[in-house]
Symmetry: C2
Subunit: 377 residues, 2 copies
């Protein structure tokens, strides 16, 4: 008679929160560890606060768990692995996170695996950045190697004189990434789930709509040809293998005007573009996160509805979160509202999301937009 497993999650944000809720539903026990008090996981499982780079803190955490996973590529999986070695697994591995969180290493891993990506150069000096920009032609993107996300840590250079200031702002000791600008037809994303055994499933590819460099809305399924969808699945699986992902891998891609696909970026965890799966798929990405890292059979990721749309609820101001507009949002028919429990709101901070399922993505998006627009936390 086996007892229910205890899953440990490094991190206490909304991805940890929704993973913990999925684990609880399966009867699993959940412990989370965050470096500072993290409201999204408070009151969900056992939320620990401590220096997650401290070996003693990690030792106490490891002792409570049967497996450890992360909700962020910035979690110290490498240190957890050191502490847990020979006792319990840590998925994804420190190596996978090491590769993914540095945009240069990530691109190199993808290119080495023969996966098409936009042209890029890891530039170690300003001169190299100028050279790369000239060779690609303007505009080019300059990206911090580590810590760029949601429009932070990126710059677009439209001409040579933009390179210097971007370098000053973004270059680390080892430089920065210069990337060719890709005119695309649409942005796509897909979540791959991969077990340590190599078993894997993929969620339906989705169309992501960005606003202000942030994910605004997700439409499932993406309005793409079946050959394109098959290509997206193939590239995503190869990407997961290239970085030895175990658990979830969110893969962002570009569909170009000629129908070809480039991989843009990877995230080794539940992904904002997979939130729709809570309502729309037989098994949510969060449940498959739990199942995959725990070595349990993977759940069916297919849609149980014809279509779904997800719209993020972002902060509009700074201060304590309130409930302005929540009542109006709840009155929108079919709106599934998720609020992450963050006590402080900041402009553009991800505070929640709304999913609607319907017979078409257009109908779902209209209602999800309407509900999300009401909420001004």
């Amino acid at each position: 008679m086996s007892t229910f497993p205890t899953i440990g999650i490094l991190g206490g944000g909304q991805l940890g929160r929704m993973s913990a809720l999925a684990a609880l539903r399966l009867g699993f026990d959940v412990h989370t560890l965050s470096p500072s008090p993290a409201a999204p996981v408070e009151g969900i499982g056992h939320a620990h606060v401590g220096d997650w780079t401290d070996m003693n803190v990690l030792e106490r955490f490891v002792e409570r768990c049967d497996v450890i996973t992360v909700e962020s590529e910035w979690a110290p999986a490498d240190r957890a692995e050191e502490v847990a070695a020979g006792r319990i697994p840590v998925y994804p591995s420190g190596n996978t996170l090491h590769t993914i969180r540095h945009k240069g290493r990530q691109k190199n891993a993808l290119r080495s695996a023969g996966i098409p990506v936009a042209d890029y150069v890891c530039c170690h000096s300003l001169d190299e950045a100028h050279d790369a920009a000239r060779s690609f032609g303007f505009p080019v993107l300059l990206k911090k190697f580590e810590g760029s996300y949601d429009g932070y840590g990126n710059a677009t250079a439209y001409a040579s004189e933009d390179i210097g200031p971007a370098w000053d702002a973004l270059a680390a000791d080892d430089g920065l990434l210069v990337e060719a600008f890709i005119p695309f037809r649409r942005e796509l994303a897909i979540v791959v789930v991969r077990s340590a055994s190599g078993a894997h499933v993929t969620y339906p590819a989705v169309h992501t709509i960005q606003q202000d460099h942030r994910c605004h809305a997700v439409l499932a399924p993406a309005p793409i040809a079946s050959a394109t969808a098959a290509r997206v699945v193939e590239l995503a699986r190869r990407a997961a293998e290239a970085v030895h992902a175990v658990g979830l891998l969110g893969v962002e891609l570009f569909e170009l005007e000629d129908g070809s696909i480039l991989v843009n970026e990877l995230a080794p965890r539940p992904h904002n573009t997979g939130h729709f799966s809570i309502e729309a798929c037989h098994t949510s990405q969060f449940e498959n996160h739990v199942r995959s890292v725990s070595g349990w059979p993977l759940g069916d990721p297919s849609l149980r509805v014809p279509a779904a749309a997800m719209v993020n609820i972002l902060g509009h101001r700074s201060g304590m979160a309130g409930t302005t507009g929540l009542r109006e949002a709840m009155a929108v028919p079919g709106a599934s509202i998720h609020i992450y429990g963050k006590r402080e709101v900041r402009p553009k901070r991800k505070m929640g999301h709304v999913t609607v399922t319907a017979s078409t993505t257009e109908a779902a998006l209209k209602l999800a937009e309407e509900a999300a627009a009401h909420v001004q936390l």
Copy 2:
């Protein structure tokens, strides 16, 4: 700027657990109060253990909450009301629970409201029970006024000599209920949601399949004519009004061979026959429980899928719960498995459930049965 409400739930079983999970998703805070340590709500919100009939315990609980509700008709809502009077609401009211938990009072309330029920007599003596049985004709059902559920506290008398032993086993100070046996075509159920404002919505009527006097499976939608479904909705709404329900009301009904409908039994809380709504409806019964008692707009109870089936996972033995068969169940495609976190298993105890959504109830039931049969906690 309003802050997020805190909902207090009297009770710590699976219905409290799933209500708490729904409340957390909306960003609400949750406190539960149980008279003994209740594993299903441990680690979900704030789980308090204390004598819930003690005014001091209730006072401390009321202080933390903005509204109080129950997960069971046996919760002391009347005492909570006394403590909370003039400060926060308690829904459903002590009066509603008082009416519903006594089968005689419940039937009287339904009959007074003109709602069709099986013939019954509240019998205060053994002679009255014999008289009632003779007037209805055998078989008749004898039911404890309070505390009968899931096959406990009921007896079927096939002949006069069965009445005496049943009386000895089941009669309380005020006697017991004798009810005519109703040959029915099928058993139906429906969940009504009603706000204090009088706003209400109803879930799709479902077909319930009993085994051994317990809910075994639920099929949504029920395979009934639209006029029958409309009649079920009408009777359920009238029943909710008859007992002044605020929050959820689970209504069990009989469809007779001639297509007419009788109301069998009421439960003033989330109902086992509504669990399918977590996956299958735009708003789950648990979320509407939270919304309705908190005075928030009610969510859309309609199906987001063509069909769904739910099968209960019951205990098969006595001892500590383990995970035997859970792995195999998880491998059944499309199975959404809910485990309630009860540490002890007993024969026939409700330990969890499985829901499957599909294009037909038959296809969904086949998979749900398969998954549930694997699990031998």
